[in-house]
Structure formats: structure tokens, C-alpha cells
Symmetry: C2
Subunit: 575 residues, 2 copies
């Protein structure tokens, strides 16, 4: 069916279906959300006010049989960073959205009064409905209730209590095929959804299907593509240990930020490692491999059960485990899993929230390693919106400001994730220059700095890091537009058959003739669109800097500091 823009206006509670503007036809995912935000959102508006817009878009290949193409992008001006923001996640929503012919969903305006709403998306368009029952509930209750309330194989995108309370770390949860949750995690997009008073969005494509212009070519390309993914050793490690395979690797590299970024190795790394996790999962009858969306051939997710063999959490990621673990000096995986579950339910970013705890520990709010108190705070304070809970829920930068802490690992007010930039310098360039605040997924130099994927660049040397980060950020912006999971990048970097097959699939899907150069141009254009939005919002190159403490405090065990000058960092934008 022909693709449409679904537009929902909360100020006057109206909806419309619009033809896709010609400029947007070749875009999907992040490319489309960032283009729409840049076109329609005033860069200096308040992120939680009526002039911000929340955009959802499936990727160019979402809804097709293409392996690993089930990512949904969500974009807006971020209440956490003040920059443009895109966060993407797996789950079923991208595929359903694409199958109903929804090129993008644009949610704008703001309702008067205190009523809450939900959106129901079908091929006929969006319907706004009042919602009362689920207000104040966590994401798991939303998914379970809707499974009973609505029939068929529906998608759900929802916010928990954090989003309702417009906490700057609130995320948007995306239901996966088994009713577990994935997250558009970073930048507080859940708060934007909360500011629009939308508790959840249900999606039902009915019999809708994505049309393929050249099915035969598509099938052949997908076969090549999937084989490249499956064959890559990193894919295989991810399938076995999940992303948490990285705890021991990054600890060994001396770049595992520990106790709020005061050391690069954690004495408890073995207890929270992917290897330990794998054995526990097997022992307790969980699943070490699990797909977050149909068609994933890597399956880095997992089902982690508690000691009694009952489901505790899924999608138990390295960065989450690091943040609650090493960064807060917690070495108990079950405690971390308990927190992961609560964070999913409240609907709040694991990285931002746990780094906020690390800063709070530094500021004296609680002790390093006190996971019981962390759990209590999440349940009794964050979920309930007490003053303490709101401080944590507003992110690491907020904790730093509120407690007068100077060691605050944020860039553009977004928490720095699981790789210390002093010991792994390429990722520091990504943190500094990303259009969206500190975010490893924006240009994952760990691949080349640590995993020797796509070549090898010494993590402790400044040499080649700017180029590495730039090339990966350009490629990532393009990948984020296809609906593809970022983990295709390992194969794309090392296997010559992978990227051509991906481009063949896009061409076969739309009956077009993109080249590799077109894809690179797409990535560059997205970055420039995002960068220009930020400049118009008042950001400058002075914001492309790491916090001062990285320059002042050597990181053990390598005893290295962050030593890029501002001028060196600024060469990133020479393209």
C-alpha cells in the first residue's frame, strides 16, 4: 500500500493522513526522524512544550524479510541534552508500522487539562483515545493489559511512570515478539511522549504487507547478507554471551569505568561478566540466545531467570550491566538483573540512571556498592517521583548539579557509557562530537580500537581516532536509516559481500539504483542536518568537549588522561 505520514495533533485532538513529501520518500528511520525534526521543530523551543514534536519512523527495510531490519527510530528535541535526538530499538513496532504503510508518525501539540490519551494505529490512520486505567502503571502492566484488551498481533510503544512524570532520563518501551521490552533508551524521549500525554501507542497492521519491487533480487541479496552476519565471529560471540561479552574484554583493556570513572578496571568484573551470565542462564533454564525482533540472525538478547527459574529480565546489555555494576561497584548479577527489570518497568534509561547513581554515590547520597539501596530508591523514590527519585530520574548531569559534584561523566548533559575515553580514545571523539550527547552507538570505535574489526587503531594513541570516529558516525547514520540493527556493522566492516548485499536489498525494495557513495552521502547529510539543528539551538564547538576531569585525572591502570585539544576535536567536522 502507498506510504503515508500519520499526523496526530494533541492541541486540538485531531489526526490526519498526509502524502509523503517527495524529499522524504528516500528516507527512513533516523534519516527521516531527524529530517522531520529539523524541518518542523523550532530549535530553541522547550523540549516539553507544545512546539516540540515526537516522530516515529520504521527503517527503509523494516517490514521486509531482510535480516535484522526491525529497528524503529524515534526522534525529537531532547529534554536531556537540548539537542536533536534519535533513539532506535528493536521489538515488533517497526515491522508493523511499515506493514501498515506508515512512513512516519508525527505527534505534535499538547493537550490542555490533565487527561491522558493513547493512540491506536491501523492502516486507516491514527485514532486518539482517552486512557485512564493504565495511568500510573509500569510498562509490563501496559503490555499485559493490552494483550487482553486488544486482539491480534499488536505492537505496543509505551511509557512508564518516568515518562509520565517527564523525567529527563525516561525512555520509550517497545514490545518484543514475546511481550518483553526493548527501549528507545537515550535522551529522554519518554518525557516528550509524557509531555504530549500519550501513555501508549498500539499498532495493528492487519493483513498489510510491504511491497517489494524486485522480490527475486531481494531474496538473493538477503541470503548473502544474512550469511555474512551469521559468519562473523563477533556475531557469534554476541549470540553466545550477549553484548555482555564485553565486560572482561573492556576490563582487560583498562577502559571499564569503575566507581564513577575513577578507575579503568573493576575487581568484580568476573562476577558480572558475559561468561558468568551465560552459565547462570543455562543453569536456570533461561535462554542465552533470544531475538528482539523477527528476522534477527544474531540474537544477542537473552532470557535471564532468577534463582528460582522465573523470568527476570531480557535484553540484558553490557552497557546496563556495566553501569549498575562496575560504575556503582556492584558485583552481583542478580541484583543488577532486578534493577534492570525495574528500570524497564518504570521506563527509564539504564545507562543514564545508573551513571546518575554513580555520581550520587560520589556526592554522598548513598554508598558505592549498595545495590539494596539502589533498588529501594528505584522502587520507592524514582517510580513514585519523590524529590530524590526525580533527581536520579533527571540524569547524571542533574545529580552533579544538585549535589555540587565535579566528576560528572556527561557530554551535552548525557551520561557517558561503558568505555572510558582516556583508555579508548576513539570513543572519546564520538562522545565529544556526536550530535546527540555522549553515546557509544553513534560511532562505535570499540570495533576497531578493541575488537580489531575493520582494521586496528591503537586505543591509547591519538593517531587516527578522529578519522575512525568520523567514518563510523557517517556509516552509523546511514545504517540507522535502514531499520538495520547496528550489529550488522561488524560484518559490513570485515566482509566484502555484506554492504553490497544491503544496498541491493534497498534497491530491490524500492526499484532504485543506490550506490555505496549514495549511502555515504546519506550518512553525511544526516549528520549535517542534525548538527545544523544543534547550532541553531545554540550549541557550539565548545559543547563538543569532554568534562574537565578527564583532562585532570589520570585513569588507572594505564594512568592516561584525555589529551585531545579542542582544535583537534573540531577537525571531526571537516567533511
Amino acid at each position: 500500500m502507498p506510504e503515508k505520514i500519520f499526523r496526530v495533533n494533541l492541541t486540538n485532538l485531531s489526526t490526519s493522513l498526509e502524502a509523503v513529501p517527495a524529499d522524504w520518500a528516500g528516507l527512513g528511520g533516523r534519516g527521516l526522524t531527524s529530517t522531520i525534526v529539523a524541518a518542523e521543530v523550532p530549535p530553541t523551543c522547550h523540549p516539553l512544550g507544545p512546539n516540540n514534536k515526537l516522530i516515529f519512523a520504521p527503517g527503509l527495510l523494516s517490514g521486509t524479510a531482510a535480516a535484522n531490519s526491525g529497528r524503529i527510530s524515534c526522534g525529537a528535541k531532547s529534554p536531556l541534552t537540548g539537542t536533536i535526538k534519535e533513539a532506535n530499538a528493536g521489538g515488533t513496532s517497526a515491522q508493523i508500522m511499515a506493514r501498515m504503510g506508515c512512513k512516519a508518525l508525527i505527534i505534535e501539540g499538547q493537550p490542555k487539562g490533565n487527561s491522558w490519551y493513547s493512540l491506536r494505529l491501523t492502516p486507516e490512520g491514527a485514532i486518539i483515545e482517552k486512557e485512564e486505567e493504565l495511568i500510573g502503571k509500569g510498562n509490563f502492566a501496559v503490555v499485559e493489559t493490552l494483550a487482553q484488551r486488544l486482539s491480534g498481533s499488536i505492537g505496543v510503544m509505551s511509557i512508564g511512570q518516568a515518562g509520565e512524570m517527564q523525567m529527563a532520563a525516561a525512555n520509550i518501551s517497545i514490545k518484543d515478539p514475546d511481550g518483553h521490552l526493548r527501549s528507545c533508551g537515550r535522551g529522554g524521549l519518554g518525557a516528550v511522549m509524557g509531555s504530549k500525554k500519550i501513555k501508549f501507542i498500539s499498532l495493528d497492521a492487519g493483513e498489510g504487507k510491504v511491497e517489494i519491487a524486485d522480490p527475486e533480487k531481494f531474496r538473493a541479496a538477503n541470503k548473502t547478507f544474512a550469511k555474512a552476519l551469521v559468519d562473523h565471529p563477533v556475531s557469534q560471540a554476541l549470540g553466545t554471551y550477549g553484548t555482555n561479552v564485553l565486560v572482561n574484554i573492556i576490563n582487560e583493556a583498562g577502559g571499564l569505568p569503575t566507581r564513577n570513572f575513577t578507575a579503568g578496571q573493576f575487581e568484580g568484573h568476573e562476577q558480572i561478566s558475559g561468561e558468568t551470565m551465560h552459565d547462570l542462564i543455562v543453569e536456570r533454564g533461561g535462554k542465552p540466545r533470544h531475538n528482539c525482533h523477527k528476522g534477527c540472525v544474531i540474537q544477542c538478547s537473552q532470557i535471564y531467570n532468577d534463582a528460582n527459574g522465573n523470568f527476570k529480565t531480557s535484553g540484558f546489555e553490557y552497557e546496563s550491566i556495566w553501569a549498575m555494576g562496575a560504575d556503582c561497584a556492584v558485583d552481583d548479577l542478580d541484583q543488577i538483573a532486578e534493577m534492570d527489570h525495574i528500570l524497564d518497568d518504570i521506563g527509564i534509561d539504564t545507562i543514564e540512571t545508573a551513571v546518575a547513581f554513580g555520581v550520587a554515590m560520589e556526592g554522598g547520597m548513598l554508598k558505592f556498592g549498595d545495590s539494596n539501596e539502589m533498588i529501594r530508591i528505584l522502587k520507592d523514590e524514582v517510580a513514585k517521583g519523590t524529590p530524590l527519585g526525580r533527581i536520579i530520574g533527571s540524569g547524571a548531569g542533574n545529580v552533579g548539579k544538585t549535589y555540587g559534584v565535579t566528576r560528572v561523566p556527561v557530554v551535552k548533559n548525557q551520561a557517558i557509557p561503558a568505555y572510558d575515553p582516556r583508555a579508548i580514545k576513539g570513543i572519546g571523539i564520538t562522545y565529544a562530537t556526536s550530535t546527540q550527547g555522549a553515546d557509544h552507538t553513534m560511532g562505535y570505535t570499540i570495533a576497531t580500537n578493541i575488537l580489531n574489526v575493520g582494521g586496528s587503531v591503537d586505543p591509547l594513541s591519538k593517531k587516527g581516532q578522529v578519522e575512525l570516529s568520523r567514518n563510523l558516525q557517517i556509516a552509523t547514520a546511514a545504517i540507522d536509516s535502514t531499520g538495520m540493527c547496528l550489529f550488522i556493522a561488524f560484518a559490513a566492516l570485515d566482509d566484502a559481500t555484506c554492504l553490497p548485499a544491503l544496498i541491493d536489498m534497498i534497491n530491490a525494495r524500492f526499484g532504485i539504483n543506490l550506490t555505496a557513495a549514495d549511502v555515504t552521502n546519506l550518512g553525511m547529510n544526516i549528520l549535517k542536518t542534525e548538527h545544523n539543528f544543534n547550532l541553531a539551538a545554540g550549541f557550539t564547538n565548545k559543547d563538543d568537549r569532554l568534562p574537565e576531569f578527564f583532562e585532570l585525572e589520570p585513569l588507572p591502570p594505564h594512568n592516561v588522561v584525555w589529551d585531545f585539544s579542542g582544535e583537534e576535536i573540531d577537525t571531526y567536522w571537516n567533511f
Copy 2:
């Protein structure tokens, strides 16, 4: 005696006396603090880290017999705004500092460990001493204890609990001649002092005196100057009613921000007005007139007693009374006086803290008008540094972010004071363009918009406001360098004898030949120095804007919005 720079380094606990660099010789007060900050503080440093510096400087005429010349300037990079910051206050410190030959005190570095210190300043230099007894105590206890501990007529500059906890709204208190307190109020300079672990600074000039190059000329000029001050009708109103004479005037103008800036008139204005206050003070045996420093001929301060005739507060300013009153919908002057006393004791900015309460009321933390809860929060939460207390103590912008509020009256994260920019447009230009965040004292257009001093500019029209604000900001920067109270500006604007007499005094003091044009150039240079610091810190013209809600929400009773375009505001810097 020859003037010296007193330098104190807390990293290595050393002190030194330095010759005054030639470039600094002609500077004092704000001109000197801003010049030193710009020269020695890296613009992108963390305001609470070791690279920020805290500078104190008396004005060019401080320590002389010049009327109203007792203001001390304090400067640093602000933890509240991230900009350069200067806050000045009366009290006895400027005069003592000048008399001991201290051109400026520069406090730099940061001690390791948890020890607290005090500084003792004498003509021989600064001495660092460990302090234990007064840690955790309020400012009144500091002043009372030091009156017993130290002999002679000493000056005291101290921080309360808010500064110790490095709250972004913490101020620095300056003892007045009667042991009451004045404040370097805005921008969180108390937090910078706390970050240096300095609880208080005592000053003893002994027999030190300021040398006057031409005493005869000085005396004559001072006589003319003081007469101009005393004769001006605004000076007389200030002597009778204090600055609080403005409640009824600004309410009548429809520009008294009420209930977190949702209206321009407050139904309880009479109960909190200067007229009501005057009668209460007289009835209870207080003093309607009181000088905050020796030589003040305006005497806008007062001694406000409680219903039992006991001292409650002094320096009970319009902006404080407005903030705790109309902005929080409190119409009980005794409750406001009680809060004013507590705020002085804790050492926290009345404007920032009360506007923070207004935003907190909007966010649901407490109810509008609930002064009992405000008092409880100040005593039990802010003073003790509970999570709620730290949220309030971190300022209005912090409350807005932590509670997801969009109606947050701040510019560069500093709370907008007692004049709504929609109804009094000139002051809006000052808020937007000030180098230091929203601050009425930076360019007090109320003089001309409302009081018809220095001519008359219609407050509701855009015409002439940029020029008005620019001229006043330039003049203010110069006045802030002399040690003069800003209230000399009324006479300077209307009485042709005033400004020449002021310049004559400066020339007589130093044996130089400044002209009026030199003074204007000084003001312009200070503003440009400050602006350049901010640009280097990453600020842009996008930061010279009022919050979006002023453009979206008409203000009753005039139902006007803020309608200056960014381009129009930016013309401010055309000089």
C-alpha cells in the same frame, strides 16, 4: 599604603602578596574582578573545580569618605549560569579591604581532603587557618562567634550551609556595621567559596587608610555628589519605604509577576507593600532607615522587627519580598521576613530560592501561598541538604528540569526577578543580554520605563528599549567599578552635577584626569570582556533569549507577550 594583590592558593595552602599589574591599576570592583576572571580562569572549566577562581575587589572609591562607596565586588565563573559573574554588596568589607591596601583578593586552587579553612586578611597579607567550630553553622553564628573570637572592628565575609554544600544559589554574606548581613547574592558565588573550602574571611585594616591625591578637591566633589543623592526624590522614597516602595508601583504597572509569572498583578500587594512595611516597622520600634555601610546617605535598608519588637531582618528588599510574596502568592509580611532571615542565615539568594519555590509550586511540590511549608522546607530541607532541599537550593532552572515544568522564568539558568518583561519590555532586554543571566541590577530600565528617571520610555512598547538597556548596562558596569551603590544612578541620570562630581572624586583620589567619555569606555570594555569570556565558554546569541513561555502566554492585565525577535535583541551588542 601601596596597593597589592593578595593571592591565596588552596591547592598548596600558600599565600602571596603581588604588585598590581599596570593593566589593573585603573580598575576596581566589577571592572577588576571581571578582568581577573577573564585573564586567569579557563572559560570552559568546571565552576566548582580547581581551575575556577574567586575574586574579591573593593571599588575605586571604597575606603574613602565618598558617599555610598562601600560596595564590594565578588567575581568568578558562576556555577549557576556558567557565565562570568560579578555580584556586589554593601557591608563593611569593601572599606576595610581598601584601607588595608588590598586591591584584590584572588582565591585559587582547591584543597585535597575534607578540611575547612578561613582566611584572615590584614595589611600584611592573607593567612590561611583551619576552621572546625563554625562548619555547619549559619552566617549569624559566624558573625556572632567572630565578634567574640577576634578583637577590633573587623569585616566578615562568610558562607552558610548552602555555600558549604555548594548549592548553585548559595550567596556570600557580608557583615554590615551593626552585625547584620548583606549579600553578594546572585549566581552561586557562595558555592565557589564552598568549593575552595573557605568558611569565612575576616578583614582587619588596623590603622590603614586610603591615600587621597587631592584631598581638597575630593571633599568639595563629595559634598556636591552627596547633595545630588540626597535631593533626588527616588532617594527620598528609598529612605522612607526602602526598595519595597516598588510593590504598589509595579503592581499598578501590571508587571508584578504573580504565581510563577502567570499574572502581572497580585491581589495581596497592599499587605506586602513598602507602605504597610513602613507602618509596621514604626509601630514595632524598628528602623525604617538604616545604612548598610558607613557613608551611605540614602539608607534604603531598615530594621524590621517581629510582633514582639525583636529584630527579625534587615535589608528587606523589594525583590526578595516580591519573590517570596507575589511570585509564591504569599501575602503575609511577617512570614516573608521570617524566610528572609532564614535565607540570610543559610546564605542563599532570596530571588533564586523564592523563584525556585514558585516553579516548585507549579510542579506540584507544594501549594501556592503555603508559607508555612516554605519555612519548613528552608529549615528542614535546604539547611540540611536533603534531596528536596538541594533541588530548591540549586535554583529555579534546576527545579524546572527536575520536575518537568515548562514555565521556568530563567535566563542563562538564573531566575528572572521582580519585573515581568512582557509588561516592562526594557528590563526584558536587560535579562536577555546581560552577561550574567537574568538580573535587574545589570541595566535597571525600571528607572526610565516606570519611574521616569532619565526621561521616559513606554514600558509596553518595543521602541527605544534596546538603546535604553544598552546605555544603562554600560553605565552600570562603570558604576559597579567605583564601589558606588547602584542607587546613585537615579541622581546621575537626572542631576547634571552628580556624574561630574563622581568623576572629580575618582580623579582627586588617584591624581588622574578621567573624562565622562573615559567612564563610558570603561563600562563598554567591561561588558565586552565579560561577553568574550562567555563566548569562549560556549555561549551564543541563542542564549540571549527569554524563555519560550513569555512569547506564548499573554500576561494579564495588559495581555501582552514578549515580542522581540532574536535579531532585534542582537542589536544590543552593536557598540
